[in-house]
Amino acid sequence: MAAKRAENNPSSGGTGVTTPGLAAEQLVEAFRQMLFARNLSERGFILQRQGRMGTIAGAQGQEAAIVGSMMALERGRDWVVPQYRELAAMVYHGVPLVQIFQYFMGAPRASRFPAGTKVLPIQIALAAQLPHAVGLGWGLRHQGDDGVVLVYFGEGAASEGDAHEAMNLAGVRKAPVVFMLQNNGWAISTPLKLQTAAESLAARAEGYGIAGEQVDGNDVLAVHEATARAVARARAGEGATLIEAITYRMGPHNTADDPTRYVEPEAFEPWEGMDPIDRARERLGAEGLLEEGVEDELRTAIGEEIAAAAAAAERSAAAGPEGLFEEVYADPGVRLLRQRSELIEGNR
C-alpha cells in the first residue's frame, strides 16, 4: 500500500480537493466548529496572559485537520484520543467545555469525563497515547464493538519509538484505528527537516502493513473525506490507516513559546492565504451556504459560550491537599492513608 500524495499542499502547489464529503448543513457545522476551535485557542492565550490559566497550546492553523477528522467519527460510537491541540474534538465528542478550562486552570479531576464519554484525557508524554489507542481499538473489536479510534499526534511525536511500536502493532492486530498525524512543520522550534529526512510520513504506513495517505490538512473537506474513508475501512475490519495531514502551525508552539527566536519570516510565506478558516469560508460562499451576517452570529454565540465556560471553571472550588490522594489507587492501603492524614494535619 503506497501512500497517496496530497496534491494541494503549498509545497506541491495544488489548490484543494473538490469532492464534497460533507452535506451542506454539515459543512456549515464544520465551519462553526472551526470558528469554535479558533476562538478557544485565542481565549486560552488571553486567559493565560492574564494569569488565569496555565500553559496552553493553540490550534491556530490546524482547525481543518482537527474538525474535518473529528466529524468523520460517529459521536457516542467512536473514540477520540487527543495529543493536546484537539480541544475542539474533545468537546465535540462529549467533554464538557468547562472541564477543558478546569484542566488548564489546574483543577483536580478535570479529566474525569461524564460516564460514556468516548474521549481519553490529554496526556503529556508525546506519542505515548498511540499504543493506548491501538489497545483500545483492538479491545473493542475483541468484544464485538465496532467503534473506531481516532488518535492525534504531531510530526514531532511521530519520531518517538512509541509511534512505531503502535502502528506496527495496529497492523498485526488489524486494529480499527485512524492515526491522524498533523504535520504542522514544527515541533516547538524544530523544523520538519531536522525531524525527519522522509519526504512523506504517510509513507511509513507501508512498513506496517496499514493504509497510508497524505491529505491537505488545511482543507476541511479533504480531511473529512480521508478520515471518513479510513473510518469506514476500520469499521469494516480492514484495519488501520495513517493519515498525514499537511498543515501549518500559525501561532507559537504554546503560550510559553516565542517563535521569533527561530522562525524566519519566509517560513510562513507559502502558507499565507492558506488559513483553513478562510478557505472554508470561501467554499461556503461559493456554494451559497453562508448567508450575510451568519458568521458574525456564530462568532458571537461561540464567544459567549466559551466565556461562560471559562468563568464557570474559575468559580470551581479551590483544591485542598486531600486532592493529591484521590484516585491514585482504587485501594490506597494503610501507608498512603497515613501519609494523607499526616500531610493534611501538617498543613493545618
Binding site: 481519553l120 508524554a125 499504543p131 489507542a133 489497545g135 484521590e326 490506597p332
Partner: protein, 326 residues
C-alpha cells in the same frame, strides 16, 4: 493442598482466572504457542485460543501501552515482560501511563492490569536478564509491586493481582521457578496485599526479605540457629502496599534487623525498609540495621554471580554482626 513449583502455580492460576472471567487476556512475547520462555503460559493458547493468549511483536512499550487501551476497552490484560530487565524498554509506559491513568482521569479509567515479569539471579543468564529493579517501580506511584517467594503465595497473590482494580507489577523469581516445590491450596486462594508473611519467629534478629531472597534468609537463619542465634524471618510479599506496621513490629520484637535483597545497595528497597523501621520503631532498636545486597555494580556475567547475589554465608555474617553489636 497440591505440591507444585512456582511456574506451575502461576500457570494454573492464570488458567483459573481466564476460566472465571472472560475479560482476562494474556499478552506478551512468545506467550502463545511456545507457552512462554519459562512455560508459565504453557497450554493457555490451546485452551483459550489465540485471541485471548496473544503473541506480541517484539516491543515492550507496545505491550504495556496497549494494555492501557485494552483495559479502557473493558478487558483485564495480563501482560508478560519476558524479563524484568527488558521492562526498561517499557518504563515510560509503565510509570507514566499504566500507573497514572486512573489518577489522570480522576478515577474515570480503571487500570486492572497485571504485568508479570521474571527477575533475579543465580541462573546464569546473559546481561540484563537477572537485574533486580523493583525499587524503581516503587518510585512510580499508582502501581502496586508484588513479589511472592513461594508457590502458594504465587497463586494467592496472582489471583489477587488479576482481580485487583489497580495495576500490579507481579515479580517472579527466576531462581524459584522450578527449584522449589511447596504446598499450594486447591481451589480459590487469594492473599491480600499489604500483609507480610512471618516465615519463622525468633528472638535475636529479624531478617527481612522478599522474593528469592527469602530462601536465602531462611538458609542463613538455619546457619545462625546452629550458632545459637535465633532469627525471625519475614517475607514482605508486597512492596507496594507496604505492611509498615507489620514490618515495624517484626523488627521491634527483636530490636535488630538484617535486610536482604538482590538489587544493588544504593537506593534499593532495603533502604526503604530501614527508613520505615527507624521511623516507626526507633526506640526499640538495639543495633544498626544491616543490609545484605548486591554491590552498586551491574549484574555480572556468569562466573561472578555467586559473588554478587547475596548468599546465606553473607547474610549469616550480617546476622552475627547485628546480633553482637551494642
Amino acid at each position: 493442598m497440591t505440591e507444585m513449583n512456582m511456574v506451575e502455580a502461576i500457570r494454573d492460576t492464570l488458567a483459573a482466572e481466564m476460566e472465571r472471567d472472560e475479560r482476562v487476556i494474556v499478552l506478551g512475547q512468545d506467550v502463545g504457542r511456545l507457552g512462554g520462555v519459562f512455560r508459565a503460559t504453557d497450554g493457555l493458547e490451546e485452551r483459550f485460543g489465540e485471541e485471548r493468549v496473544v503473541d506480541m511483536p517484539l516491543a515492550e512499550g507496545a505491550i504495556a501501552g496497549s494494555a492501557v487501551g485494552l483495559a479502557i476497552s473493558g478487558l483485564v490484560p495480563v501482560a508478560e515482560m519476558q524479563f524484568l530487565g527488558f521492562a526498561a524498554q517499557a518504563f515510560h509506559q509503565i510509570e507514566g501511563q499504566v500507573a497514572r491513568m486512573r489518577y489522570r482521569s480522576g478515577g474515570g479509567l480503571a487500570m486492572p492490569i497485571v504485568i508479570r515479569a521474571p527477575f533475579g539471579g543465580n541462573v546464569r543468564t546473559p546481561e540484563l536478564h537477572s537485574d533486580s529493579q523493583e525499587a524503581r517501580y516503587v518510585q512510580a506511584p499508582g502501581i502496586k509491586v508484588v513479589a511472592p517467594a513461594t508457590a502458594a503465595d504465587a497463586k494467592g497473590l496472582l489471583t489477587q493481582a488479576v482481580r485487583d482494580q489497580d495495576p500490579v507489577l507481579y515479580l517472579e523469581p527466576l531462581a524459584g521457578y522450578r527449584l522449589q516445590r511447596d504446598d499450594v491450596p486447591e481451589g480459590e486462594h487469594t492473599v491480600p496485599f499489604g500483609k507480610l508473611r512471618t516465615v519463622r519467629e525468633g528472638a535475636d534478629v529479624t531478617v527481612v526479605a522478599w522474593s528469592a531472597a527469602v530462601r536465602v534468609a531462611e538458609a542463613a537463619a538455619d546457619l545462625a540457629a546452629a550458632e545459637g542465634i535465633s532469627c525471625s524471618v519475614v517475607d514482605l510479599r508486597t512492596l507496594v502496599p507496604l505492611d509498615e506496621d507489620g514490618l515495624a513490629e517484626a523488627v521491634a520484637r527483636t530490636g535488630r534487623a538484617v535486610v536482604v535483597h538482590e538489587a544493588p545497595c544504593s537506593a534499593g528497597f532495603g533502604a526503604e525498609v530501614i527508613a520505615t523501621v527507624q521511623e516507626h520503631a526507633f526506640w526499640s532498636l538495639k543495633a544498626p540495621m544491616a543490609r545484605v545486597t548486591a554491590p552498586d555494580t551491574p549484574y555480572p556475567i556468569g562466573r561472578l554471580e555467586e559473588h554478587y547475589v547475596p548468599s546465606a554465608t553473607r547474610v549469616l555474617a550480617a546476622i552475627r554482626r547485628t546480633a553482637e553489636a551494642g
